[in-house]
Every structure is written in C-alpha cells, then in structure tokens.
Symmetry: C2
Subunit: 123 residues, 2 copies
Amino acid sequence: MAYIYDIYEENCPTRQVLDRLADKWALLILDQVQAAPKRFNHLRRDIKGISQKALSQTLKKLERDGLVSRTVYPSVPVTVEYALTPLGGTLKDTVAAIAHWAERHMDSVLEAQQAYDTALAAR
Amino acid sequence: MAYIYDIYEENCPTRQVLDRLADKWALLILDQVQAAPKRFNHLRRDIKGISQKALSQTLKKLERDGLVSRTVYPSVPVTVEYALTPLGGTLKDTVAAIAHWAERHMDSVLEAQQAYDTALAAR
DNA sequence: CCGCATCCATCTCGATACTG
DNA sequence: CAGTATCGAGATGGATGCGG
C-alpha cells in the first residue's frame, strides 16, 4: 500500500488527523470513553478542568471523525452516551502508549525543565 | 512503581507532558529530527507550512522538556543542529505509532467526516 | 544562517445565561 | 440532563524587520 500523501505537506489529510489527536482534550476523552460508554456530565465530572463548551466541541469533532459515537436515549430527562466506535477502538493502544510514556517519563521531563530554567536564570 | 498523580486531575504533571505532545507541530518536529540531527532552516523547509516563529517556539519547548538538544557550531555563519536526546529517543516508537495510525486510518476518518457533513446538510 | 522583537489579525476559551 | 448562544479576554499565529 503506497501512500499518496506526504505527511509534511500542507493540507495533507494525515496532518488533519494528527491535528485532531493533538487536541488538548481529545486524548483524555478517548481514554475516558475507551473502557465503557459515558454520559456527557459524567465525562465533565471526570475530566477535571474541562469546560462544558470545550467538552461539547471536542466530542463533536471526535464524532465527526468517526472516533466516538453519540447515542441518545429518549428518557426523561434525556440521556446521551458517548462511546468508542470500532474505528476509535483502533486508536486504543496508541492512546495507551502515549499515556504510559507520559507517566513513565514525566519525572525526567520535569527534571529537564528545572535544569533548563535554572541554567537560564544563571545567565 | 505507584503513580501519585491522577491523569485526570488538573495541573497533573502528566497533563503537562500530554499537552506538549498535543502541540500542532511537536510530533512532526520530533519525527523529523528522529532519524538524524537537522539544522533550523532544514526543518523549516521540510515541515511545510510552519512559520519560523512557530518552529522556534516549539523547538524551545521541546528543548526545555529535554526531548531535543540544541547544538551550536561556531562556524560563519552559525550552524545550529537539533537532535533527539536519549529521553526523546524513548518517544520514537510512540510517535511512529501515531503517525502510522494516522496514515492507516486517514481514509476512514475522511469518510466519516463526509458522512457526518452530508447527514448534517440533509437536515 | 539563525533567530528574536514587534505589530496586528485571528481564534480559542471560559464564564454566563438560556432552551428542550 | 444535555446542550446552544453570546460576549469579552487572552492566547496564538503569521508577516515583517532587524541583529548576532
């Protein structure tokens, strides 16, 4: 399978996909939804610091990209569940890999930052 | 090794690391630098569409995080090379995984977007 | 060649208020 | 419960010009 697009070209579709993943909240949402479907306010509660606007927008983008499904249950009041689609499921391992890297190397990064900052301050 | 921090908490260091990777350009730069060190304008040329400001800023962030090293060769005119640090090297596989996912599933995402958009327009 | 400083347009984001 | 609408502030991004 040959790739038509060059990832370093502008407007390359791969870039767009990358940009979606490079969203501040997308990865966290995908990780939250990954185990089991979750309701809107459930996500809002669990992902500390996200505004309802940001959550709403990011969910809509993820839905548009086919990574997350949105299911409305006509109860009163309405219940809406967000779940990982099969396509989204193919991302699970990758998302997990990123999260694990972040957890494992967090300390090193923090150290590097301190070293950098003190070196800067010394000059 | 137990993790003190909750990834879903605000101001959790893992979040900060995640935010760095969630940069529009960081992944592309890491991928560019991964194989061999590159000069500033080399990166600028190869990563189409990046402004020199964005490149400069992102490189500085990556350097601060200890993922990329910056070496100045006192030639005339100056040559500056950016390379992956050992810490940055531990990210190689993860970055590659993301890029591969994007390439492999790009078409599906594009389809999903079209389906979403036409469904929206129909209403 | 490598970058910083500045200016300015754009956009994103959060807070708030309101609807089905 | 699950959003949309609106508005203002702050961050962001590109273009330009200059300095080491």
